[in-house]
Amino acid sequence: MTSYLIRRLLQAIPTILGVTVISFFLMQASPGDPVQILTFQPGMTAEDRDRIAAELCLDRPVIEQYFIWLVGDWTGNCPQRGLIRGDFGDSFFEQRPAMEMYLERIPATLQLTTFALLFGGAFGLLLGVTSAVWRGTWFDNLARFFSVVFDAIPAFWFGLLLIMYFSVQQGWLPVGGRLPLNVDDPSLIDRIRHLILPTIVLGVTWVALMARFMRAETLEVLRQDYVRTALAKGLKRRVVYFKHAARNALIPIVTILGPAITALVSGAVVIERIFSWPGIGRLTVDAVSSRDYPVVMAGVIFSAILVILGNLLSDFLLVLVDPRIRLK
């Protein structure tokens, strides 16, 4: 397993490099110039523009800029040490390391996506298995109806509805943010109150997706002989459905876990905006708008790593839930 892990991680290096090449040149090819955005104020001159461009190494050819970003500035004129030395470059606008800006926001995004994943997984699983067991009943129909509705509902609209009711009208939950204001040591309850709405809005799509998958897989498993045998032997239905059937139904689900994590992090971009959640989603969107290249590239690498790790996680989980599978 260790050699498999090392091999997969080594394979990831050229993948990430390829992603950086494509992203960097696509970004540079898109219209808009960070130096012009930086100097977009009265009184700025072409001299100021050129000076700032030189300080940021943006006066160099694009290929050279890429290699400066990758290996550092060999001329010593720009203060960049390069990605291979762990330096993602400084944000053009905040003038501090891009990776530092990501690292201080990643906990917020991971917290939100983890809770959304747990919420979606738990409810989706329960809903899917129950729907399959009670196939054709009003519960099954209702669950299927809502799983389609929640999959189709736009997150920004649903989020605003929840804010209007629970925060503005009732005042039960905060409008947004991760922590309460002016509280030195927020309690667990405070933290949870801030998590409830964004978790529901982000997780509800995952509930819908998971419920549909679980229903289909459970129905498939319920037709298997061993389930019939277990029931015939007099095992409790709850044990049969949730211990035997659900576990086997989970196997295909695990394969979508990796992409689901990536999708959740992507979805968090919208949710973080609605709920003013200080995560990487808002940072990335703002960086793209302002052409803050080092921050965008740090985001690209983070996303690439996330996709690779997500898929790796799927592979390992598959081994855990299905003993027949071996990693080679």
């Binding site: 219209p31 930086l38 009265p42 072409a46 005042g171 204001l181 002016n182 609605i274």
Partner: protein, 612 residues
Amino acid sequence: MKKRTRLPLLILLLGAVISLLIACQPQVVEVEVTREVVETQEVVVTEEVEVVVTEEVQVEVVVEATEVPPPQGGNVVESSFADLNTLNPVLGNDNASSTVYTRMFASLARLDPVSGAIIPYLADSWDVSEDGLTYTFTIREDAVWSDDTPITAQDIAFTFDAINTDEVASPRRSNFTEVDSWAVIDDKTFELTLKSVDCTVLANLGPQGIIPAHAYDGDPLNIPDSEENTAPSIVSGPFQFVDWIPDDRATLAANPNYFLGQPNVDTWTFRVYADQSAEIAGLLANEHTYTDPIGPQFVSVIEGEVAGGRDMGVQKYFSNGYTFVGYNLANPENPQNGWDDLDGDGVWTDGEPPLEQDPHPVLGQLEVRQAIANSIDYTGIINKVIFGQGGPTVANVWPSITWAYNNDLTPYEQDLELAAQILADAGWTPGSETNDAGVPILEKDGQQLRLRLMTNAGNETRENIGIIMKDVLDQLGFSIELDYKEFGTVVQDLLGQTYDMVIIGFGGGPPEPDDSSQFSYKNDEVGAGFNFVSYYNEDFEANLDAGKAVPGCSEDERASFYVENQELMYNDLPYSFFYIPLNSGVAWNQLSEITPNTWDTYYNMEQWFFTQ
């Protein structure tokens, strides 16, 4: 007959007079008055019968006049939908950052909240030499940093050095164009020398936040990588740093060493929301105490809440900004700098004359601009697009600069017949092709009235103005292509001067009528300059130069230049001005002494307090 002493009456009168005098004091002074019941016994002798008369007289005795301090404590939470980039005033360039670091770093001067005049702040006073070239600032004796170190002229010099150090990459450097040198005379005296008389220097450099030299070991090269940029440890303003969670909040606490006195409130939090809708939801959920300004589309909602009894108030004031459509007067196919680059260095240098540029094939003609100016539904835009939250304006100086504002100009109004007549008189006739409205596109000498109208996508106000303009202009025979794109691309086209018309706005301007950065040919610089419309008028240029260089910088003497310039601009039409925004600041009623205004809402921040 009863005989009464006059003493009680006198005391009453005295009390009333003193009460009246105290009531007339401008400060919040509470007079402690004790109402005493004085029992007076009078002995009246009436024919050998002794009668004791007892009378109760109420006497107001003034004990003492005590200034009662306002309630202390509480947290002011101000909202924003933009996050800050830095907490260093040398590096800052955006409104959100400025709002926060200005609470921590005092400047030499600041703006009078009513008139916008430059008034002393860290500097107690300043003298200007007779030739108008040397400014000598005297720094307040009681001004200290939060670590008790005196604020000195060395700190001012360090700040100015830092801004002009290449490695620091300060966006503030362009404010020093006319500055020749600066020097520390002594600990509390700082001298600034100009290359030539520049009446805008105080407006440009006065509000610059001063940073502590000792926090950077006196070396500007330590600034770029300093933690002080995100967590300042030594400050001079009313508040000091507590924490900053990017995209979430910045929290500051009252600075007990602030030279104007420790603020009454404990903390001030700058709460960042993702957008305006979230910000308003937060306001309605009582999550923050103050928002300024709220978007025009939300004003009626908030006013409805206030009318319904919500405990908050709305204060309105005209912004120091405007929204306009700018006309590119030069050919977008051939963008050129506005001056004849005699020395070929690519930048304007003293003595280089204006260049007669290749004009825009359509907008280069004044009649076309006049037709557009007379076709715009200004009232409709104010009433329908910004819901009445704005006022008409005529030219480039906003009315809040009262001394330089031209009151004689009448705002343009929509007159479609006049607009059509102007075009017809100028020789524009219907062609064979039709526009989106099915109206024949006007032509003249083979040139069609085709124009692109650009603005930044996502800004609903500007997008809606564009739609209104297109609707009307298409009816007149123009063919308007709406060109809505992402802000970075708009900036590129705007500064690159490759557009036809742009809807954009400026805000937060200084209290200065000099806007040479926008309208002087010296700033008509492809890729950088703010005169992106390539405007040039010889008289206008002469007035800009003269208004800036008036010896003594008397407002009365300067005013005539700017008043005339507004008239020139009104007639030349490089811009058509839609409106000046009417900002609405919303604060809880419990937050007292806060007065949102055009120039400086925070001028008395140390006096803000919560009544409960």
